[in-house]
């Protein structure tokens, strides 16, 4: 069941991105940025966590979860340390995506040449 919903919810988020590409003619960078901001706002409203509960990877794999995770880290830390935590807790939850991208980016650049 979770597999089915992961597929559907993930697919729908991608269709939203595609519509931003094709209908509003936004560049990939603009589209992804808007989606991340959107994810952050959804988490602020407390709507993203239920979506993760429901769709699993369908909600955590799209880039929107990046915004969600950033807010989540900030809120968790703010809970413990007050307003300063908003700044310090930011990367607590998201570090995996960024560090994996950096690590595999460097490894990739050591291993591969662009194929063109």
């Amino acid at each position: 069941m979770i597999f089915f919903w992961a597929f559907v919810v993930g697919g729908i988020i991608c269709v939203i991105g595609q519509l931003m590409f094709d209908v509003f003619k936004l560049s990939p960078a603009h589209t992804l940025t808007i989606l991340v901001v959107f994810g952050a706002i959804l988490d602020g409203l407390g709507l993203y966590e239920p979506l993760i509960d429901f769709a699993g990877a369908g909600a955590t794999v799209p880039i929107t979860s990046f915004g969600n995770a950033l807010v989540h880290g900030a809120l968790q830390e703010a809970d413990k340390h007050g307003i300063i935590g908003v700044v310090t807790g930011m990367f607590e939850v998201t570090s995996a995506g960024i560090s994996a991208a950096i690590i595999f980016g460097v490894i990739g650049s050591l291993l591969f040449k662009p194929k063109g």
Partner: protein, 159 residues
């Protein structure tokens, strides 16, 4: 919005753009959306498989399995990007391969691979986030704003 900008153009350019719009090959939106749904859904599906695998065979809960899943997907993206498959997937999948975290990974890794000819410090180091940078910058900034508002509302407003 776009129309307002067009009004500033000389009438000749306006007339031409109207003609251009008629002749321009339109983007196949329905097909693109279908492909985005299928490919994006499949990547998330694969993500769910990986996640379930981590939950069952490693000490990760539903909460904590997301991070290793992301890392695994980005590792797979590195291979797909390095062997030159991801850009081809991107051409027909569109947002289907760009919106999942693999698209973020691809943006970082492709830039890193591309600029290795300029050296590892300047080339790879400075260009790595050339495409994916805005995602981090505005992700962090918007998260800051959202978290700040929410913290103020719950901690002081709720008092």
């Amino acid at each position: 919005m776009a129309d307002e900008k067009k009004k500033k153009l000389p009438p000749k350019a306006q007339a031409y753009q109207a003609l251009q719009d008629k002749k321009e090959e339109k983007r196949p939106i329905v097909k693109n959306c279908m492909m985005a749904f299928l490919v994006g859904g499949t990547i998330c599906f694969i993500g769910q498989i990986i996640m379930t695998f981590y939950i069952h065979f490693f000490p990760f809960t539903e909460q904590t399995a997301g991070n290793p899943t992301t890392a695994t997907l980005i590792f797979l993206t590195m291979l797909a990007t390095g062997f030159g498959y991801y850009d081809r997937l991107g051409q027909f999948a569109g947002a289907g391969s760009a919106v999942p975290v693999t698209g973020f990974g691809n943006a970082v890794i492709s830039a890193a691979i591309e600029h290795r000819t300029e050296g590892y410090i300047i080339g790879v180091g400075t260009n790595m986030f050339k495409v994916a940078g805005p995602v981090i910058v505005y992700g962090v900034f918007s998260a800051f704003i959202v978290a700040l508002i929410k913290t103020i509302l719950t901690q002081w407003g709720g008092m």
